[in-house]
Symmetry: C2
Subunit: 390 residues, 2 copies
């Protein structure tokens, strides 16, 4: 066959999309054409408003926004059936598997109902957007034998998550920082989890299962695992004094420094300085993060030794420190990414379903043809197979 | 941008694979180079042997097969933790959502453990292959308030499923028919569910979540839903006498006849006649299926009116009648597909992980650039949005 494979489909367009735009050479990230910096410099803009923008392509007017906030707030409340499943899940399992199971459970309760009504697709989008923080917080409470906390009407999306997770009201700065982290994660064009969601939805499977696919894909270390790896790396460096020697050792081993560089950004990730400023404010309010000076030194040393290669801090570099300071445990870092990214996933799924084509690509076949059946007494036995010791 | 989108990636190769091969023009389906007819004409070949072939590229020798059957048999047993989750799932939900949640639950129990040992990948493959029929049967028993039945060592994969589902021992012919249905569904090159599994695995997410993605994609009406739709169509036709008028009406409305034709096969689906012969034997043993004569008449009429367009019965045409006769409820038809296809999914995932590239395709951006933020009091209000009535 003359056709060739492009590994990972790099550079191959697979969908039209107007949700977000990246120019990695210039360090640009836009949501519906608006640079991420512009969105975050305006004090009024919060995560649910950005989700509305991503879903619809326009900002909500004042009363539309009020209705939107009320609608999503209603879907923040968990059903007793969902809580029962969350309570039955193995307490030692990873929260991303729990989230996958929980979203499938929502599908059991609502997929048939939602598909049976004209506005079902939009209802599902609102429900999934609203439920995600509640599912993550409730699983975390239940695995620690704590009671599940209902959301509070007076708190926004980020504020409610912190309340439902920790059981204490967040400060305004805590709420603001987390809201910003959710916004900077809200979309990033056709990444692997968004693509997995589109492939699943292209069979006309429901949005619950499409989002379950996205969550499943996000959990991979090559995708959503970077923030966790970055914080664990800072912990393993330990102190500012160790940074120089640690960087030299990593470079000698030709290993990767986590939190620096990004597959698509050749200049500084436009989201990183925004998070850096907020991290600084948070540490000023709540006390310094012991690893912040390690992170700063790592950036300084890496810039000196690697800057000319275009390796700059990315969004994971600061979000891990922020999560840690907010009291969010390391194994919830990927679920935090999912809570932010679900706005983008759903916006992409809306596009996918409005112009759907089943993804049914080809393979290049590497095997043989027209082989015979080998009777069992004529088969060669291998000395040892990968199954032998199982 | 000069690049164009190929809708659904049709014709675009995305992976090298030696698992299966299809020639739709000639009606060929091969597993590891062996035509499906050859595999099914040999009496010795059963589903687990075919799964071994798909995983490894070679048949197991006699003692390897014995070890293999014992290994998978061990993984057929459900953990108490898994049964507790299955029991907590909403009884009215679809079994495919239940299966997604159950597989994520297995990931909570085993993903970290499996990834921590050298043979973990193979252990996971064996576990998922073994667990799938037990998960489907147990959910079905629990939703009907019946006790979960443990597997029996003396039964094979298909026989165990029928036992665990129905609580009575299958006849040899029932076992043989279901075994054959599992084999004909075991792989079909790079279909949407296999692709979803590969995309998810390409982030180095674990096999549990990759298979959860595949199950999520399979549930779509454009993929796994055809068998169910075909049986429901036969039920709606009702009787042999109605077929002619029904076909005329469908053709006049330019609607699709389910169970006839296939996206890739231009001649008769090579799996269909094998299933047809077995269905006939089953009806001879167990009494005729009332819709079988409707199906035969539908094939005859459709062949007369459409045969020159290359529209022949596909595998769904007979498998629905077989399932129905075996006492398998309609909403388990897609899970039956999953129980068969998991062999192919896992064989593809093994290939994917042995030469992994993160799937990170491109989009063609359709939006604007460098837009300003619109303050809330300056935003135009739409008369009615899709969210208004929610």
């Amino acid at each position: 066959m003359a056709k060739e494979i492009v590994p990972g489909l790099a550079g191959i367009p697979v969908a039209h999309s107007g949700v977000s735009f990246i120019d990695g050479d210039q360090g640009i990230l836009e949501y519906r054409g608006i640079p991420i910096q512009t969105l975050l410099e305006e004090k009024q803009c919060n995560y649910l408003e950005v989700a509305y923008l991503l879903f619809n392509g326009v900002f909500p007017a004042a009363d539309e926004l009020q209705h939107w906030n009320t609608l999503i707030g209603r879907y923040r409340i968990l059903d007793a059936e969902t809580v029962a499943v969350l309570a039955a899940l193995p307490k030692g399992g990873h929260p991303m598997h729990a989230l996958t199971a929980a979203i499938a459970t929502l599908g059991m309760l609502y997929a048939a109902k939602d598909q049976g009504e004209p506005s079902g697709r939009y209802r599902t989008m609102a429900r999934l957007l609203g439920q995600l923080p509640s599912l993550v917080a409730a699983f975390h409470r239940l695995r620690n034998n704590l009671e599940v906390l209902p959301p509070k009407d007076e708190l926004d999306h980020a504020g409610n998550f912190l309340w439902m997770l920790r059981g204490k009201l967040p400060t305004e700065l805590e709420r603001k920082v987390l809201d910003t982290v959710f916004i900077v994660h809200a979309d990033h064009t056709l990444n692997a989890s968004t693509f997995a969601a589109r492939v699943t939805a292209s069979t006309l499977s429901d949005l619950y299962l499409a989002i379950a696919s996205a969550v499943a894909a996000l959990n991979g270390p090559l995708h959503g695992g970077a923030t966790q790896a970055t914080l664990l790396q800072l912990r393993s460096i330990g102190s500012k004094a160790q940074v120089g020697a640690w960087v030299d050792a990593i470079l000698a081993k030709k290993e990767k420094i986590m939190g620096l560089g990004h597959r698509v950004y050749k200049v500084k990730d436009p989201r990183a300085p925004i998070l850096e400023r907020l991290a600084e404010k948070l540490f000023a309010e709540q006390g310094a993060h012991p690893l912040y000076e390690v992170a700063m030194e790592l950036e300084r040393v890496a810039k000196a030794k690697l800057g000319y290669k275009g390796i700059y801090p990315n969004v994971d570099f600061f979000s891990g420190l922020v999560y840690d300071k907010l009291g969010i445990p390391v194994d919830l870092f990927i679920p935090m990414f999912a809570i932010g990214r679900i706005a983008g996933w759903l916006a992409h799924l809306r596009e996918q379903l409005e112009d759907n084509h089943l993804y049914r690509p080809e393979q290049i076949y590497t095997g043989s043809h027209n082989q015979s059946y080998v009777p069992i007494d004529k088969r060669g036995k291998q000395a040892k197979t990968v199954w032998s010791n199982l």
